[in-house]
């Protein structure tokens, strides 16, 4: 009781203090009013019409009415944002198209090529992206990827929640996993024209993802801290079991701090699924619903990115990612790992350049040299929505006809974004 009354007394005195503050303010206002009327008299003597443009403003009531209608945002259209992204170009290599198509990486087998497959001109894809707010509770997006040969796939189609509390957000549908730094990004947002080698060999050209669900939590901290958990159907292309009941679980932690002008982003990622292998008959055909259970496939990822803004529109970005896969096969655990390191220099609004080094340094097959690739590129953007990119690769990761073969390739690609495309995350 006593405590309570003391508390209210202290509070009352605090309120009283703010009342006297108000008094002071009112007095201040009176003085100002006087000053003002003197000023106005002074201005009138100048015989000047003060300003040209008229100032029609809303009344207080009109303003309040707008606020009552939820923030008073101006809705311009109820149609979803629709964008078309086009990518193509010209490629030149020191190997034939057939040799390139049959090239393999030791320990990973034949590679799947999606873009710039041919020597000469290539139309790589047209991508149609649609996104919109569904209602107060959901946003939804769909991305249709149309390959140059006319085949189409649903690259992503998902919804995300808008209104969950406690910093939670749920995504469900078909989507790319947020494992690591680059997996989630679409091709047109990549720093180089082709996929990072380590992502390509572990996840395939489409990356880790598929039909599934995601839960992300943004921690209530001043610095950025996010934790996420995802569950997908198993997928053989991504190194997991393709059995009907199989699933892949992904977890990650992402954080970022500003150090002066620079930003450091770091992430830890983990993925796990069964490494059952589908059995084949004597002719090498897959047998439906027949799997041999070998155990688990586990992936560990670490990524660190440093961003440093320069004068004007320039910036320096140093991005690094390392992934290791431990896969139980037959009687042993196959351990494979690789990393990439890339340095991008954005010179201004129009020009950017970059170098990248890819390396697969741990492999179960006994090969004497590292499987690596070095790339350099120059980007020219005449405008925000068009980009030309010239890239050169020296690729020591491929084998052709069981022989190590250094592939030199030069690619000149265009990427055009038409229509309304949502802004990209950092």
């Amino acid at each position: 009781m006593v405590k309570k009354s003391v508390l209210s007394l202290v509070c009352a005195s605090a309120l009283f203090a703010s009342d006297t503050e108000l008094e002071q303010l009112k007095q201040q206002m009176m003085q100002l009013q006087q000053q003002l009327s003197e000023m106005q008299k002074h201005i009138q003597t100048l015989e000047a019409v003060p300003a040209v443009a008229s100032n029609e403003t809303l009344s207080d009531e009109e303003m309040l009415q707008k606020m009552a209608t939820k923030g008073g945002t101006t809705v311009t259209s109820l149609l979803p944002d629709i964008a078309l992204i086009l990518n193509g170009g010209y490629t030149s290599r020191n190997v034939t198209n057939t040799q390139y198509a049959n090239a393999s990486i030791p320990g990973f087998g034949k590679m799947e090529i999606q873009n710039n497959a041919k020597d000469g001109f290539n139309l790589n894809y047209g991508e149609v992206a649609m996104s919109s707010t569904v209602d107060p509770y959901f946003d939804a997006s769909a991305i249709f990827h149309i390959h140059g040969d006319g085949t189409m796939e649903v690259e992503e189609a998902y919804f995300v929640t808008r209104a969950l509390d406690y910093g939670l957000r749920v995504k469900a549908g078909k989507f790319k996993s947020a494992f690591g730094r680059v997996n989630e990004k679409h091709h047109h947002a990549w720093n180089f024209e082709d996929q990072e080698l380590v992502n390509n060999v572990f996840f395939g050209p489409d990356g880790l993802g598929g039909e599934g669900a995601q839960l992300q939590w943004a921690a209530p901290t001043p610095m950025y801290l996010m934790a996420g958990f995802e569950l997908f159907n198993g997928n053989a292309k991504q190194g997991f079991s393709a059995k009907e009941s199989a699933s892949t679980a992904v977890g990650y932690l992402k954080s970022s701090v500003d150090v002066g002008n620079a930003t450091v982003l770091a992430g830890l990622s983990y993925a796990q699924g069964k490494s059952e292998v589908q059995n084949t008959d004597g002719l090498g055909n897959l047998i439906v619903d027949s799997f041999t259970d070998y155990g688990q496939t586990r992936l560990y990822g670490v990524d660190v990115t440093l961003e440093y803004p320069l004068e004007g529109y320039g910036s320096l970005i140093w991005q690094n990612e390392w992934i290791q896969r431990n896969k139980d096969v037959e009687t042993m655990t196959q351990k494979q790992a690789g990393y990439y390191s890339e340095l991008m220099y954005k010179i201004d609004e129009n020009w950017a350049t970059g170098v990248r080094y890819d390396d697969l340094y741990k492999n179960m097959e006994n090969i004497s040299h590292h499987l690596n690739r070095t790339s350099v590129k120059v980007d020219y953007k005449p405008f925000e929505f068009s980009r030309f990119r010239l890239q050169y690769n020296q690729d020591h990761s491929k084998y052709i006809d069981d022989q190590a073969k250094t592939i030199h390739e030069v690619m000149l690609n265009y990427t055009l974004e038409l229509g309304a495309h949502g802004a990209h995350a950092f």
Binding site: L15, S18, L22, L25, Q28, M29, L32, Q35, L36, M39, I43, A48, P50, A51, V52, A53, N55, E56, T57, L58, D60, M63, L64, K66, M67, K70, G71, G72, T73, T74, T76, P136, R162, A163, L164, G167, L168, A218, A219, P220, T221, P222, M223, Y224, S256, V257, T263, L265, E307, P309, G312, Y313, F383, E384, F385, G422, A423, H424, A425, F426
Partner: protein, 291 residues
């Protein structure tokens, strides 16, 4: 210990109960003017950087994650950087359409709304010119919107917000009279701008924008267009070239040296030497209309 705790306990609700995040420094200044220490404000963009292209940094997400109110300039100015931040902050209070999302552009009249839209015309502002905060006559209107919004969200401090607004509005009208006077001699003159960034300020004082250094919105200067401008300035005797503080100033300096016009670099938001709204408009008016 208890003695220390007591005033702390009851002063807590009197102190910042509303966390406000704002897109640009000028909005932050207005919030501080209206609320003093009754709310806490975090400002996302810097006053010296291009308001169209703020690089979203992850640390900005922390500001949005904890905010009860997000105030934006609107009119499409933040379209390239606020939505991804909102997306990742997972805070339902401040998403578009929520009560904690305040788009100031909804309350002011925007000029130069294009009648037809095509990106062949460059990066046009589809909803009209969003740089309305550079009309000093719009500032008290914006202050009032913020005052009304804060009063709705935090009715306990309603009187404080109203009083602070009244004081500010009075002080500002004195300044308006001063700027009217400073700008009067420049009425009916012409200027060249880099981007149509200062249009509201110039329109207010009867100064006509005869051209822009960027050939089309968002397109970097071309030599052909630059030469055309030099000729135009010579023929029409345009006295002033206005350059913002984030684009490269070389083109403006080149045009000035070839045409005899005066190139001035103007701030466009609060920051640096112009650490208050008054100082910002003081410098805008003094530099634009130097006698």
């Amino acid at each position: 210990m208890k003695k220390l705790l007591l005033p702390l306990l009851c002063s807590l609700p009197l102190l910042a109960s509303v966390h406000v995040a704002v897109a640009y420094p000028y909005i932050g200044e207005l919030v501080k003017t209206i609320a003093h220490d009754k709310v806490d404000v975090s400002v996302i963009a810097q006053g010296s950087s291009d308001p169209h292209f703020v690089v979203p940094r992850p640390s900005y997400i922390g500001m949005l994650r904890e905010a009860d109110l997000l105030i934006v300039n609107g009119g499409g100015l933040e379209i390239g950087w606020i939505p991804p931040l909102q997306n990742q902050a997972h805070n339902p209070k401040i998403i578009q359409g929520a009560a904690g999302y305040l788009d100031l552009s909804a309350y002011v009249k925007m000029i130069d709304k294009p009648t037809s839209l095509s990106r062949a015309q460059g990066d046009v502002h589809a909803e009209g010119n969003p740089h309305y905060s550079l009309d000093p006559y719009n500032i008290p209107v914006l202050a009032k919107i913020i005052m009304l919004k804060l009063s709705l969200m935090d009715p306990a401090n309603k009187n404080v917000y109203h009083t602070n607004y009244d004081v500010f509005a009075k002080q500002w009208s004195i300044k308006l009279a001063q700027w009217d006077k400073t700008m009067l001699p420049c009425r009916n003159t012409q200027v060249i701008q880099y981007h149509e960034l200062y249009s509201y300020f110039l329109n207010r004082y009867g100064i006509h924008t005869a051209g822009t250094i960027e050939p089309l919105p968002g397109i970097t200067p071309s030599s052909k267009h630059t030469l055309e401008l030099i000729n135009q300035i010579r023929t029409d005797k345009i006295p002033t070239i206005i350059q913002d503080d984030y684009h490269e100033p070389k083109t403006a300096q080149f045009i000035a040296s070839k045409s005899g016009a005066r190139a001035v670099v103007l701030a466009h938001d609060v920051g640096g030497e112009n650490d208050t709204l008054e100082k910002l408009f003081d410098s805008l008016s003094e530099q634009t209309c130097k006698q």
